[in-house]
């Protein structure tokens, strides 16, 4: 009798966890804002969520030149080999995200906010659409 109730408890707990998992893990086509860049050079490996960089938010505040000429960001998703040491050292994102111009690095989850295992990409880019037609599995 006891064994049975244990079994049932395990089953029910499993069921509930599955329901919760189904609620949170949403396997849909990625469809973030046009121009959002996902950077996942090191994040997954380090057990962090990948970074989402919202272009739209930044271009409302800074012209392209500030980051792409002054700060040396290349026009290539994942092509800058940014890491936290460089950021804390004031390079790349750290040039502004230093607590003076913009909020600083302790707000990990504001940048590291993508779903785990999201590959590096410029979201909704023409290249992405050409390389991965709708309906193709996104891996």
């Amino acid at each position: 009798m006891k064994k049975l109730s244990k079994l049932r408890a395990g089953f029910l707990a499993g069921l509930i966890m599955t329901i919760f998992a189904a609620f949170f893990v949403d396997i849909n086509d990625a469809r973030a804002e046009y121009g959002d860049v996902v950077i996942n050079n090191y994040s997954d490996g380090a057990g962090m969520r990948p970074v989402v960089f919202p272009h739209w938010f930044h271009r409302m505040r800074f012209r392209c030149k500030v980051c792409h000429a002054d700060l040396g960001f290349k026009f290539k998703a994942g092509g800058n080999e940014i890491n936290m040491v460089k950021i804390i050292d004031g390079q790349f994102c750290g040039a502004c995200h230093n607590g003076e111009i913009a909020w600083s690095v302790e707000n990990c989850n504001l940048c590291h906010s993508a779903k785990p295992n999201t590959p590096t990409q410029v979201h909704e880019s023409t290249v992405q659409k050409l390389a991965q037609p709708t309906g193709a599995s996104k891996k």
């Binding site: 049932r8 804002e33 046009y34 739209w56 012209r63 026009f75 502004c96 504001l110 906010s113 785990p116």
Partner: protein, 328 residues
């Protein structure tokens, strides 16, 4: 010792409460999502509480109805009402709630509800010879049309109009719903939803649906040209470069002005474009693959779907036509 018991108790309590509150969930989802269209019958949707609207659809079977709600229909129902993050069960609960509210003659929805699960039970309830023929058995004449609809639903999906285009309700979604951000991350919910920022900006037909160049021209935004100095002014160069293109496509006018408002010369020259007339081979294929103009256009700047933004100078058709005339 007591831990497994407690877990069992909690688990079973949760399970029971989930069932009890399925109706509440349905109502909740309806009042937050479905109500937008189904209250007034927008785009031909069945109206809430209107038996006449729902009867033919319910006659087609609840399975088909769930399918339409979950995956959308070519007639205009967006998948999950456009809220793709909703759990399937919640969507179904909302469908149940709306069907219940339609207060259809009792036997019909009840019989239909059982259909997907218990085919045999259905046969008993229907008690008609036709029931054996079709999976979705016609009980009353109007259901024949519904049957046809239900059977063609999957085929119609493949041919639904503008299947590859993003419908309006899937544009500029807030971060927790945008498919890239992790809704389980607390930071995601602190991020600004794009639409709250785009409200006053001039519109465009592609990309973010914002005309960024116009936004600066109209002084709706004034992004900094220098990281620290809000007063730094861009060095604008007003020089148009005309590129003649093949065929009847209008020639390309490249405006330095709009580009230098955003960018520095060094962003493009000399790495992407050699600053010399005739030195750059540009093709649409290269642009589509992210080279030349495609380094930005199709990633952050407006994409190549906006042909006439670049191909804007009409050819002198008289000149083009003369050789053809002479040939005759």
């Amino acid at each position: 010792m007591n831990i497994p018991k407690t877990i069992a108790l909690l688990a079973s309590l949760l399970a029971i409460s989930t069932q009890i509150h399925a109706d509440a969930v349905g109502k909740d989802v309806y009042s937050k999502v479905c109500v937008t269209c189904h209250a007034t019958g927008l785009a031909g949707s069945p109206r809430f509480g209107q038996a006449a609207d729902w009867a033919p659809r319910v006659a087609g079977g609840m399975a088909g109805l769930y399918q339409s709600a979950l995956n959308g229909t070519p007639k205009g129902m967006p998948a999950k009402g456009g809220h793709i993050t909703l759990a399937d069960a919640d969507v179904k609960a909302a469908v149940d709630y709306m069907v219940a509210a339609a207060k259809l003659p009792k036997s019909e929805p009840e019989a239909r509800k059982e259909e997907p699960k218990k085919a045999e039970a259905k046969k008993e309830e229907v008690k008609k010879p036709e029931a054996k023929v079709a999976v979705i058995a016609p009980v009353v004449p109007p259901s024949e049309a519904a049957t046809a609809l239900a059977t063609t639903a999957s085929a119609a999906d493949a041919n639904s109009f503008n299947r590859l285009l993003k419908p309006a309700n899937k544009r500029n979604l807030p971060p927790p719903e945008d498919g890239i951000h992790d809704p389980a991350n607390d930071g995601t919910h602190a991020l600004q939803p794009p639409l709250t920022a785009f409200g006053s900006l001039p519109k465009s037909l592609a990309g973010n649906r914002v005309n960024w160049v116009e936004a600066i021209a109209q002084k709706k935004i004034n992004p900094r040209y220098d990281r620290n100095d809000p007063k730094a002014e861009p060095i604008v160069m007003d020089l148009n470069i005309v590129r003649e293109v093949k065929g009847s496509m209008p020639d390309v006018v490249y405006p330095h002005k709009q580009h230098t408002e955003w960018l520095d010369c060094s962003n493009c020259h000399p790495a992407i474009f050699i600053p010399q007339k005739g030195a750059n081979q540009i093709s649409m294929a290269a642009i589509l693959l992210g080279e030349k103009c495609g380094v930005c256009h199709g990633k952050v700047a407006f994409p190549v779907s906006e042909c006439r933004n670049c191909h804007s100078k009409k050819k002198d058709m008289a000149k083009v036509a003369i050789p053809a005339e002479a040939g005759k």
